[in-house]
């Protein structure tokens, strides 16, 4: 009896250790970018590196940890690729990457991960918070420990040194609204024939989506877009989960069409929602007349290129920035700031292949939104 317990509980332990080592393999795989630059560091476990960095923060051996809103979605994956590119370019950096699962992208998960990183003393944390207020406490804690904190993609309300912003809220807003308006005009709508629009956001707490919505509403209030009606504040928050997005998209597409009671244009504000809209249209039972409705939104080109190229699909343009560059810029900024090459009050940064970038009160701006359609969608591969 005693033997049994000892034996099988030992099994538990073995298993957990196996899990560790198993996972460590892929961890090293992630850091090979760093390892490649270093000599004989190929098998240096990240943790060892972490340990030594805590000893000498100022030395070349930096640990940069990146935390997306959630893992496993190609927008953030693309950012990660860019980040790794930068890591490789600079060299001598240990790069950690982890995040909540897509169906549970919560502040709580992020805090859990952060506390781990803080406690083992990484040098730089680059994150995209799920909740701009809730996260600040933890971020401040990190800063107190001398960790450089940057946000990317979405900002935190406090506790960060820099916000690497893909594009200003107004940039996104104009991109989306203008795009939509032009398409609608082309389909015969206009000041004389107003159109109802709806928007699909992510979770209610996402800072960037909310800031975009704000400036979109501002735009809609202006005279040139006043004919775009956000019918009874039709903004939906399915969160990042795939099935929820599909569900709401299907329902929305179902109520699209011509006429006052219907919706003429839907804008996806996340790289989950927009493809879901395209798919929903494809699978709709009797498709609303493509020449009367418009689908558009933020998305990675790959995710919606088929819909854009497909003539009968009313989704013929998407809006995005270059996510890879975003990741790249974030790491560059973090690195330069950590090594002191970049001052807190700098007004510009030379970020490797991206060249000179503006910094406005702690906000590094990547550039303008890029609008892609059938003509140029194939140029991008992310």
């Amino acid at each position: 009896m005693k033997k049994w317990i000892a034996l099988l509980l030992a099994l538990v332990m073995v298993l957990s250790l196996v899990a560790c080592s198993g996972a460590k393999k892929e961890e090293t795989a992630e850091t090979t970018t760093a390892a490649a630059a270093e000599t004989k560091a190929a098998d240096a476990s990240t943790t060892a590196a972490a340990a030594e960095t805590t000893a000498a923060a100022s030395s070349q051996a930096l640990t940069i940890a990146m935390l997306p809103k959630f893992k496993g979605e190609n927008y953030f994956d693309a950012c990660k690729v860019g980040a790794q590119e930068a890591v490789k370019e600079i060299g001598g950096i240990t790069f950690l990457y982890d995040g909540p699962p897509q169906n549970d992208a919560t502040n709580q998960h992020q805090v859990d991960i952060l506390e781990g990183w803080i406690a083992q003393g990484v040098n730089v944390i680059i994150l995209s918070p799920n909740d701009p207020d809730a996260i600040t406490a933890t971020l401040k804690k990190a800063q107190d420990k001398g960790i450089k904190v940057l946000t990317y993609d979405a900002d935190a309300n406090d506790g960060r040194d820099f916000f690497v912003n893909q594009v200003t809220a107004d940039g996104v807003a104009t991109g989306l609204v203008k795009g939509t308006a032009d398409k609608l005009k082309a389909k015969g709508y206009g000041p004389d024939k107003p159109a109802n629009i709806a928007m699909v956001s992510s979770a209610e707490t996402d800072a960037n989506q909310n800031s975009w919505i704000a400036s979109i509403k501002k735009l809609l209030a202006t005279s040139d877009y006043s004919w775009l009606k956000l019918a009874n504040d039709a903004i939906y928050y399915p969160g990042p989960a795939e099935d929820k997005n599909q569900e709401i998209a299907a329902t929305l597409v179902g109520s699209m069409g011509e006429g006052d009671g219907k919706i003429q244009a839907v804008i996806g504000l996340t790289s989950m929602a927009t493809p879901a809209l395209g798919a929903a249209y494809e699978s709709a039972a009797n498709k609303p007349d493509a020449s009367k409705v418009v689908l558009t939104g933020l998305a990675t080109p790959n995710a919606i290129k088929d819909y854009i190229k497909n003539k009968d699909n009313p989704m013929d343009a998407g809006v995005l920035w270059n996510c890879m560059d975003l990741g790249y810029l974030a790491v560059q900024t973090g690195y330069q700031y950590a090594t002191g090459a970049l001052a807190k009050d700098a007004t510009s940064i030379t970020a490797g292949r991206l060249g000179e970038k503006q910094i406005k009160d702690g906000m590094v701006i990547l550039g303008d939104a890029l609008i892609f359609d059938a003509s140029n969608v194939d140029q991008f591969n992310y």
Partner: protein, 315 residues
């Protein structure tokens, strides 16, 4: 069976009412998207139902679905047609669920705990295999959702579900095996006395459920051009709800596929109904939870009353 029919009537009435109060609810598009959702809920619920009739349960359905979705995406990415990846998924489902069955019968681990554990393992293993999602899937993958329409507007998935429903009904009626499920659910001891190999039956039941689940997973996976590692997360509750609402007793031994069908329909209406009534989707979870509890309690109360009448009858 009157109870299912009352449920059916109830659902139909609700449906009718919604069509009246909420314009657009009755629109072809809406009904079809409801039916599409209905189709996979129904298919999966049939699997859940046969398991619950034996007095067991499987909460790992969600995790298993996620696994199958990724598997299909893997195969489908290279342009493999549906008749290639669907069977693969079904096989995979059968194996995973069978494993649950083994844990439950051979090691006597309560079904819900065993499957809770396997859920975590399945759900956790996926993100290690692939970084999150498989996207940019070819048209051959999304064929079922995008192209396959009967009479240009009825999704094939719905037909698929209805066919499966009929098959299930036939088996429940005419197969000795499925009759024995009820016996097990009623009284394992007597079932053994009647010469039924209880353990084997339960394991097979789980395998069958997994097999059917593969079809449901196909419908879920092919809904878009991207498959993520969390496609099925949390869905099991919907299925359990559908079965319980359908009148299957949670302690096993009773219940009918037909009831489950109506239950699935009711559950697939909730979200769109809330939308069309202008109620926030946020309430859908609560509504579903409430529906389950009401359904279970009603069943339990019936049981209590029966006990009373029993004692009277013994007189």
């Amino acid at each position: 069976m009157p109870s299912e029919m009352t449920l059916g009537l109830f659902v139909v009435i609700i449906f009718a009412l919604l069509c009246v109060v909420a314009k657009d609810f009755g629109s072809v598009n809406n009904i079809m998207s409801i039916l599409n959702r209905f189709s996979y809920i129904l298919i999966a619920s049939i699997g859940m139902n046969i398991i619950m009739i034996t007095g067991n349960i499987d909460v790992s359905f969600g995790g298993v679905i996620s696994v199958m979705c990724i598997l299909m995406a893997f195969i489908g990415k290279k342009g493999a047609p549906i008749y290639a990846f669907m069977p693969a998924a079904m096989l995979c489902g059968a194996i995973l669920c069978m494993f649950n069955g083994l844990l439950i019968t051979k090691l006597r681990i309560p079904a819900i705990v065993a499957t809770l554990a396997t859920t975590q393992i399945y759900a956790g293993a996926l993100p290690l295999m692939i970084e999150g999602s498989i996207y940019d899937l070819p048209a051959s993958f999304t064929w079922l959702a995008f192209e396959a329409k009967v009479f240009k507007f009825v999704p094939l998935s719905v037909i698929l579900a209805l066919i499966l429903l009929v098959i299930a009904l036939l088996f429940m009626k005419y197969s000795r095996f499925f009759k024995s499920l009820y016996a097990i659910g009623n009284n394992v001891k007597s079932a053994r006395l009647a010469g039924i190999n209880v353990d084997r039956t339960i394991i097979i039941t789980y395998a069958i459920a997994g097999l059917i689940l593969g079809v449901a997973a196909t419908i879920i996976a092919t809904a878009g051009q991207r498959v993520t590692t969390t496609m099925g997360a949390g869905m099991e509750m919907t299925f359990i709800a559908a079965v319980v609402v359908g009148g299957t007793s949670v302690t096993g031994g009773s219940g009918s596929i037909l009831g489950t069908a109506f239950g699935s329909l009711l559950l697939s209406i909730i979200a769109p109904a809330l939308y069309h009534l202008g109620i926030s989707d946020s309430w859908s979870t609560a509504v579903m939870g409430a529906i389950i509890i009401i359904a279970v309690s009603v069943g339990a109360l019936k049981g209590v009353r029966r006990k009373r009448t029993d004692r009277a009858k013994e007189a």
